[in-house]
């Protein structure tokens, strides 16, 4: 079921280019692929630069945990750590 949901999102995203889609070029650094693949499945990547550069590493970590525990994002532990490291290093305060 989980796989199905993600696949359908990907298909829909392909159609989005027709309209007013936002282009977010995250900083190219280790982990950016994990951020784009996981975070970008459910919401715009704009939330990352929007909430920068003031979030401390602990706050970014808490945001990622919230997405997994509260919002139910299907992100495995290794990816979660890579995402936290990326955000703290590239968008932290």
């Amino acid at each position: 079921m989980r796989k199905l949901v993600i696949v359908s999102v990907a298909v829909l995203m392909a159609g989005a280019a027709l309209a007013d889609e936002q282009v977010i070029n995250l900083k190219k650094a280790p982990g950016v692929d994990k951020v784009e693949g996981n975070c970008g499945a459910c919401h715009s990547l704009a939330y990352i630069p929007m909430n920068s550069p003031y979030l401390k590493p602990a706050q970014w970590s808490a945001e990622v945990d919230k997405m997994i525990k509260v919002m139910g994002a299907p992100i495995d532990a290794a990816d979660a750590q890579a995402i936290k490291d990326y955000l703290a290093k590239n968008y932290g305060g």
Binding site: G15, S44, Y54, G72
Partner: protein, 411 residues
């Protein structure tokens, strides 16, 4: 669980919204300016690295904070009238699963819950057959001005523009609830809209109101905004209007209303949308949801905004009209006071047309601009004597920022 087809709207081009609103109107001045220059001073600097003006179907360009879910803020120049035009009204969603199209003909509103005598289903025509009332009211996002919090807090980093004021027409919620029949054990009424999550485990956006507020004569299910059908992205074909209370309760694309005999227990009631108990001078409380330390955000705190000029604007020496808007949680604006000496002395601004106690109240002030820097500071007072604050009342979600605004005009 909704059966409606949830899809992202962006692939649908102009289909839904544009047809409903009809045309994009005059070419906005915002279009020429870069989006970064439209940002409120003080929001996180990261926004300027990506932000553009975005044009949703049926809308004029708005500051596109995020496209998925759509969060679009109105630039300052859209606040120069007390009534915000439909195509200038801000857009805010929590979840990116938004139906690509909702047809008025097939729309249904389900009313039920354990506190109701029986579930009923209403069509849009059923709702329109009920006595219609019109109320002019400010819809302000709870997180409006979150981006100005110091220290910054996580979330959608709104500047001044997550608000608008419109004439809303619809049926009273209490008349709709009466059709289902509400038992005396009911303590809250909950609301669900067609907006849904992308992954199943994400909590659906469901809100509740205390029964007394749900039954208020001004709480309506609106199908018209400023004399036209609701724009798609403002909740077509029907949304909840809760005058005086922040936008979180104003459920868009309202499809389900339930009478509850126990407090609604979802994420979006707790821990989301909460303020510390006792921090803000709010009269209206939501007691069935209140705990020892936190309570749901309820009414809008008294506030004002200078809309004629941006901070740092150049003006001519001599007489300059500085104007703006003031609003509150429905007590009505009594005075708007202006100081040009950093708050030592104050004079009353001239109040404009009164559109009702829930509406934006326009005000204006004649500044005698001197050579160099002129500061203009504004403080609104409502009819129960509440005023804006000199210092931010910090809270973790960045709500209720009604710090007196002060701008510098250079002559």
């Amino acid at each position: 669980m909704l059966t409606m087809n949830r899809r992202r709207f962006l692939g649908t081009s102009a289909a839904a919204g544009a047809a409903l609103v009809g045309g994009l109107g005059r070419l906005p001045t915002a279009e020429a300016a870069s989006a970064a220059s439209q940002l409120t001073p003080g929001v996180p600097s990261g926004i300027a690295s990506y932000v553009t003006m975005g044009t949703l179907p049926g809308k004029k360009p708005l500051i596109q904070l995020s496209d998925r879910p759509p969060n679009y803020e109105a630039p300052l120049e859209y606040f120069r009238t007390a009534i915000t035009p439909n195509n200038e009204f801000f857009v805010r969603y929590h979840l990116a699963g938004i139906p690509e199209d909702i047809k008025a003909e097939t729309y249904r509103l389900k009313v039920g819950g354990e506190g109701a005598n029986g579930p009923i289903e209403l069509t849009l025509d059923d709702i329109k057959k009920l006595p219609a009332i019109e109320v002019t009211a400010v819809n302000q996002c709870s997180g409006n001005r979150r981006g100005l919090s110091t220290p910054h807090v996580a979330g959608v980093e709104w500047g001044y523009g997550a608000m608008g004021c419109a004439r809303w027409k619809g049926a009273r919620l209490k008349d709709i609830l009466a059709k289902a029949g509400i038992k005396k054990e009911t303590i809250e009424i909950s609301f669900n809209g067609a907006e849904g999550p992308v992954v199943e485990k994400t909590p659906d956006f469901i809100k509740s109101l205390p029964t007394w507020k749900a039954m208020d004569e001004n709480t309506i299910v609106a199908y018209e905004m400023n004399g036209a059908p609701l724009p798609y992205f403002n909740g077509f074909p029907a949304r909840l209007i809760v005058p005086g209370w922040t936008g979180t309760y104003w459920m868009k694309h309202l499809v389900e209303v339930n009478a509850l005999t126990k407090p609604q227990g979802g994420f979006w009631m707790k821990p989301a949308y909460r303020i510390p108990v006792g921090e803000f001078p709010v009269v209206a409380r939501f007691l069935t949801q209140e705990d020892a330390t936190s309570t749901p955000i309820t009414e809008i705190v008294v506030n004002s905004l200078i809309t004629s000029h941006r901070d740092g604007a150049k003006v001519k020496r001599g007489k300059v009209t500085v104007s703006g808007l003031a609003w509150d949680g429905g007590y009505g604006i009594r005075t708007v006071d202006v100081s040009t000496d950093g708050g030592k002395t104050w004079v009353s601004a001239k109040l404009g047309q009164d559109h009702g106690r829930f509406a934006f109240r326009p005000w204006s002030f004649e500044l005698n601009a001197k050579h160099g820097k002129n500061t203009v500071m504004v403080n609104a007072t409502n009819r129960i004597g509440q005023t804006q604050t000199a210092k931010l009342l910090f809270n973790g979600a960045g709500y209720h920022n009604n710090v007196m605004q002060s701008i510098t005009l250079v002559a």
